[in-house]
């Protein structure tokens, strides 16, 4: 047992870090440090920079463009990217639909979609949740009826993240209304430009526009866009949801945020002393750091065991990563809210949305309260923490 990185792993980390330092545009990094989001153009450009280096989809099998890195290397890469901080790559394509396509799709689907995902030529979004189907996803109602060599899709998806930018959506649709609820579902790829697709934005409590409703009215989808077998979509969805393990805890993101908390708490003063020297505050921060260190070790234990696991069989312990990871990320936003004090209040638009006015309070203040509001989502999406607890109770504890 040796819990340290090997010299080779450290050399790899240094290589990754050095590349990020030179390849990531300074203004993008600074924007993220201030707590703002990368624009679509910035994310596309960053993905292409990585793709040119061969690093945009490192976790894919080598034959489709992956790097062949060990699980530990994958972890280091993710961690460094999150901690840089660099824009988070779009998960819907590279991490969600792509593994389904290269595992269950046809050769034609692989050839057609995978290279465009790796280069972010196609922006994907996820059509799973519906107004009546949240945690009970399998109750979904959006229907797809076979009509010659097409499916005709009708229904509504919701909470569709960044659908306003999307070229494609992968959807769970009901193809057999008579079957038991999990057994009548299929996995369909739908071109967002198809006639009958309508996107309506939902404004979230932070004031942002990140999620949408997507409506399907008699949308005709060619049958070659079915992935795998008809009525087996639930299996692929489970595969997809369990597939994203490395980085699910987003340890690097929390590390970067805690560094930021420490840095800003050294600048803000409470009376005559910096906030960071107020024992109550620094102990609260230290407590989150301890939780994060424990989570990092837990993550590394899962990663180290990954190599021995069957492909596509996620470690149920990754549910811990989701629960603790979300709690810690949320705690970082609470700490920042405490640091910013009264300047949490002014509502300020993000810079790219046409603000010319000088910032009110410190230049980082505007994003703090919105981040706190927005990140409440982390314990809800991807299977809420309560669902994660159900999974652990069943799969690990056998209850």
């Amino acid at each position: 047992m040796d819990l340290r990185f090997t010299p080779e792993e450290i050399a790899f980390r240094d290589e990754v870090r050095a590349f990020f330092r030179t390849a990531l545009p300074k203004e993008v990094r600074e924007k993220l440090v201030l707590g703002h989001h990368a624009s679509k153009e910035e994310l596309v450009a960053w993905t292409r920079t990585l793709n040119a280096k061969g690093w945009s989809v490192p976790h894919w099998p080598v034959e489709y463009g992956g790097t062949g890195w060990s699980p530990v290397q994958q972890y280091i890469f993710q961690d460094e990217m999150q901690a840089a901080p660099a824009p988070q790559l779009l998960a819907f394509g590279a991490n969600m639909v792509a593994p389904v396509i290269y595992t269950f799709g046809t050769e034609e689907q692989k050839r057609r979609f995978l290279p465009r995902i790796a280069n972010l030529d196609d922006w994907w979004c996820q059509g799973f949740s519906e107004p009546g189907s949240g945690s009970d996803l399998a109750s979904l109602k959006t229907s797809a009826k076979r009509d010659g060599d097409h499916y005709v899709v009708n229904g509504q998806k919701t909470w569709t993240t960044l659908a306003q930018h999307a070229d494609w959506i992968f959807c769970l649709v009901r193809t057999d209304p008579a079957a038991k609820k999990q057994e009548g579902i299929s996995f369909l790829l739908i071109d967002m430009k198809s006639p009958g697709v309508t996107v309506r934005p939902i404004q979230t409590i932070d004031g942002g526009r990140e999620v949408n409703e997507v409506f399907f009215d008699d949308v005709r989808v060619p049958v070659e866009n079915l992935v795998g077998q008809e009525n087996k979509g639930w299996d692929y969805a489970k595969f997809l949801l369990g597939n994203e393990r490395v980085g699910i805890a987003r340890v690097g993101v929390s590390k970067e945020r805690l560094r930021r908390v420490r840095e800003l708490a050294a600048l803000e003063r409470v009376g005559d002393v910096p906030l960071i020297e107020v024992p109550r505050f620094r102990e609260k921060l230290a407590a989150v750091e301890v939780e994060l260190k424990a989570l990092e070790m837990t993550q590394l234990r899962v990663v180290a065991a990954e190599g021995r696991r069957e492909r596509g069989k996620p470690d149920p312990a990754s549910s811990i990563l989701k629960i603790k990871g979300s709690e810690i990320q949320q705690a970082t936003t609470e700490l920042l809210l405490e640091v910013v004090g009264p300047f949490a209040l002014p509502f300020q638009e993000e810079p790219e949305e046409g603000r010319n006015e000088p910032p009110i309070g410190p230049d980082w203040a505007g994003s703090v309260a919105p981040a706190y509001f927005n990140w409440r989502k982390i314990s809800i999406y991807g299977g809420s923490n309560e669902i994660q607890k159900n999974i652990i109770a069943k799969a690990i504890l056998g209850l």
Partner: protein, 382 residues
């Protein structure tokens, strides 16, 4: 990075686990606890036979050269078994102070007897006013030629009543809370100037109040620097924190396993209570707390050997914070989910709860270490 045990480490774990499985069931433990010494000499001899008592000492002194990982393995197993023998007091604390602080002559005189199970040690540092501050020392060591004369009172000396020799912190110079001026002295427990009042502790182990009245210690009993032993003491206590973390993980793992088992068998309202979601989620909270503690015990173990003092101290503090917090979640829920059964001395889970709770009270509780970590600039400051 490698989380797997080596072949030798696996062998070590298997042999400890086998011994404890054979000889340390709940009834046997009760018997050992009921003896005058409060543990089993026979089992202690078996530890010696297995090499556990020689484990951390260097090979040239008759040991096996084991490191923090080996100690972690043993302590976790002892935690699972709720073992009562003075492994922490004699090997981790006393042995650690000797291993890191004693001269070669001292080691040659002491280690073989320790490794053979024929010499028990205790470490006396706590005083009535000191709480968890190792540098708060009122016990005095007055120079008398090449010797020292010790006077003072030490409290809650783990396994102090059964020890053959006691390692004692005493002030050679400076004020009560000065970091400098502290010496570490090895005192024969049967010295006429040493009086001991032994008692059971809440977790079924033993401790003693120790009074020192003009106890004379020659140069052969001075461990490390006579006036600057605090760094040695702190280093060994940081190692002990990692060891205690492993023991606590053993306790927590058993509490969790017992609780899940109980949820699967106990029936109420016509069904097993484990089918109730509110109880499932509590069991999951315990599991998450346990795994976080396990991760942190590994981190603490890895860092216990680190040569960078600041990093080591931060890691020890962080480990103790996590262990203390996790132990509360696991322990309190274990009792709650067992209901009335969890409250009885006749059932094992309560005994684990008591040990895990007392571990938090040793060498600084979670809040103490959080304060310390805050003052050290946090865990990620470097």
């Amino acid at each position: 990075m490698d989380f797997d045990l080596s072949e030798e480490q696996r062998l070590l774990k298997d042999s400890v686990d086998r011994l404890l499985a054979d000889r340390y069931d709940f009834e046997a433990r009760k018997r050992y606890r009921g003896t005058e010494e409060g543990f089993s000499r026979e089992i202690w001899a078996q530890y010696a036979e297995l090499g556990l008592l020689a484990l951390p000492f260097a090979e040239e002194h008759g040991g096996f050269g084991g490191g923090p990982v080996e100690t972690m393995i043993v302590m976790e197993s002892l935690g699972r078994a709720l073992a009562l023998e003075p492994y922490l007091a004699t090997i981790v604390l006393g042995g650690g102070l000797i291993r890191r602080g004693a001269s070669d002559e001292q080691k040659a005189a002491l280690v073989p007897d320790i490794a053979a199970g024929e010499r028990l040690l205790a470490f006396a540092h706590t005083e009535r006013q000191s709480r968890y501050d190792l540098h708060d020392v009122a016990t005095t060591a007055r120079r008398d030629g090449a010797a020292f004369v010790l006077n003072g009172e030490k409290s809650v000396v783990l396994h102090g009543d059964g020890a053959d020799a006691i390692l004692i912190t005493a002030r050679v110079a400076g004020g009560r809370r000065d970091r400098g001026g502290i010496g570490l002295f090895l005192v024969d427990a049967r010295d006429p100037g040493v009086s001991r009042r032994g008692y059971p502790t809440q977790d079924g182990q033993r401790a003693a109040e120790v009074s020192l009245s003009d106890v004379r210690v020659g140069p052969e009993g001075v461990i490390g620097s006579a006036e600057d032993a605090l760094p040695l003491v702190e280093r060994v206590v940081d190692e002990a924190i990692a060891a205690l973390a492993a023991e606590a993980v053993g306790c927590m793992a058993e509490m969790h396993a017992l609780t899940v088992e109980y949820l699967k068998t106990r029936k109420q309202f016509g069904t097993t209570i484990g089918s109730f979601q509110v109880l499932q989620h509590k069991a999951v909270d315990m599991f998450v707390a346990l795994e976080q503690a396990r991760s942190m015990a590994m981190f603490g173990t890895m860092m216990a050997a680190d040569e960078d003092e600041t990093e080591r101290r931060r890691a020890a503090a962080a480990t103790k914070v996590q262990i203390g917090r996790s132990a509360k979640i696991v322990g309190q829920n274990a009792i709650q989910l067992h209901g009335g059964v969890g409250m009885t001395m006749e059932f094992k889970v309560g005994h684990y709860f008591k040990r895990a709770t007392m571990i938090d009270q040793l060498f600084g509780d979670a809040d103490h270490h959080l304060e310390r970590l805050g003052a050290l600039g946090g865990l990620m400051a470097a």
